[in-house]
Subunit: 267 residues, 3 copies
């Protein structure tokens, strides 16, 4: 076979900073096993330990990648403990990640052909020789991703997992005429991505509050206000975001994950 | 066709931080449409809103990439407003970008075969379903880039544009025996890239001043001075740079875009 | 030949920040010469001028990349001075880098087929026209890497080098019942990578001290302690690391390269 264009893509998502060699060496491990593998970065250097943020990105953004992609997601504060490693198939994609909740939403929520299939990886068979217990991304998960890219079935990598660590992504709740949610993460611009879902709030005349401070109505884009002005917008992750045009809402409000947001209907 | 080596490359330039998922998801959109597309990053996480800096990079660096490359440039503070999106051909390259001045220099200035050709993208035909107004990079511009990579002509993407938003890159001016310019940007080392052009200043005995403070002569490289010492050099963007060897001129002088620089001939 | 999967990979390691265009334009230079070249990033934005850290990464991590890879390493504070540029072969890999010590460990230490072969690059033949003296990564080293990728022998690029700039990577020393070493670098999490080698310390009951402050025993992973707690671990670079679980040891101890570490046997 001489055409690699129909081969699956490997999508990488980690909290490793790109100024460290950790992402690069994982890529080396994969390329050493699958020559010509097509690697693409979803993001790296995510806020360490914010598993909900990583899980949200997987849930909302996997679908933008080619079907059959192998998604290797390493946010792994428990590395080296006895937390298992999962390999899974869901919605036409395959996933490799530590069993810490990161995959729970995609295993629950991705639409696609067939039922999710999940295995607990048996490290003995795949682990790099001479590795360590502080970098399973390199020593176990990258080799697992390489095997999936090379076409091995999940069943070759471990035994079926009927349970895994759950993670409840923050979901806004309706309380009377108010949706009550929270900030999930701040992006690099300082936009505050909240748990208020676009589909619940589009169309009606909601006003957004951050920790009780009125932000105003939800606009289609921050370009609708003047530079330096605050506005809520419908963001690209299907969530409402609190933003400052040409500025940082995270700094303006000293806000971040866990801060309370509300959408209220004017009475 | 089984060889992807003659297919065009897609070059990405954005102000999206790599710690966010925005660049990655744009790549996913492209790869979903053009399997095996060859993506390469010029730079990301550029200073938000410094359109002149992005435009300078396009003007000076596009030529280092393979001919026929599709350059997708997203610095888009006006996203979601009625600013159009441009697709264009100039100097043997193709470009996709918001119409905010970013492309003006390459449309004016790139030498190459044929006249520049520019269209205003008609989003209706190319836009991802279910998108939002805050991320046209993903929802409109990445699909446009994919179509160009796949070989569609510009004319399939929109109607011809005879005008677009102009941008005058900062240019130094000769006033008697002095060139008067300004800092365009600071790079990650704190080198101050100025609007003083190398070709105007090479050879003669100019001395550089930053906000009236004498920096000294323009040397071929900062290696010519001692660690910690300040010097002007001929930089890699065909502009004079104010640098500190093994240090940051931006910090040393608390300087950045807009600060005045001069090159004076000794009297 | 229509299959690029057996072609060598080009691995890039630099101290150029990814928010600058320098890495991107080097890639453009390579792709313009070797269409379809497979480029992969080991890391960028390394701490400027920490040549020992770059050299350690090359020594410990090259082996994770496919054999025959061309490793282009640019940490080059002496750019534009008369320091030579090296092209070399060692341990089945090829390397291009400034002659400032960066390659010394891989030329000494990589096991693999044949003797290391080293040449001083003759820039005249390979240099980009119209370049500058501040960016040999783009103007000389990227073209050299492209030639190696294209299959040219080292001997076509310059004359044999029998000496090059030495670099002694920090090595811990045994003094009685104590290993005395130092911090080599801090990674992006604030883990302190030390010169204490894993193979010297595994198995026995060592206790680690940082500038005289007791850190404790060396554990397999930081997951073995509670969040916020300090521990030494066996790290992924075959060195002991001082870490804070879910935190930064660099910040906690205000420590970095050069700080003294010791491993002592309890008496």
């Amino acid at each position: 076979m001489t055409d690699n264009r129909n081969e699956p893509v490997c999508v990488l998502l980690t909290d490793f900073p790109l100024t460290d060699p950790y992402v690069g060496v994982m890529k080396g491990v994969i390329l050493s096993r699958v020559r010509g593998a097509h690697l693409v970065d979803l993001a790296h250097g995510l806020p360490p330990g914010n598993i909900a943020w990583g899980a949200l990105l997987l849930q909302e953004q996997t679908r933008f990648f080619p079907e059959r992609s192998v998604v290797l997601a390493v946010i792994d504060p428990g590395v080296g403990t006895d937390r298992p490693i999962l390999a899974a198939r869901s919605g036409g994609y395959r996933f490799v990640a530590p069993d810490n909740g990161l995959l729970h939403p995609v295993l629950q929520g991705l639409a696609g052909p067939g039922e999710p299939e999940v295995v607990h990886v048996k490290p003995a068979g795949v682990r790099l020789p001479g590795g360590c217990e502080t970098f399973h991304g390199r020593d176990i998960m990258a080799p697992v991703a390489a095997r999936l890219l090379a076409g091995e079935p999940l069943s070759a990598l471990g035994g079926p997992a009927s349970t895994w660590t759950p993670l409840t992504l923050p979901e806004a709740e309706r309380v009377g005429d108010t949706w009550v949610g929270e900030v999930i993460s701040a992006d690099g611009y300082g936009n505050l991505i909240t748990s208020l879902k676009t589909e619940a709030l589009r169309g009606a005349d909601w006003r957004v509050f951050l920790e009780g401070v009125e932000i105003g109505p939800i606009r289609p884009t921050f370009g609708a206000v003047s530079p330096g002005e605050v506005t809520a917008v419908f963001g690209s992750l299907n969530r409402v975001e609190v933003t400052v045009r040409d500025g940082s809402a995270a700094e303006r409000f000293a806000a971040g994950p866990g801060n309370r947001v509300e959408a209220r209907r004017p009475s």
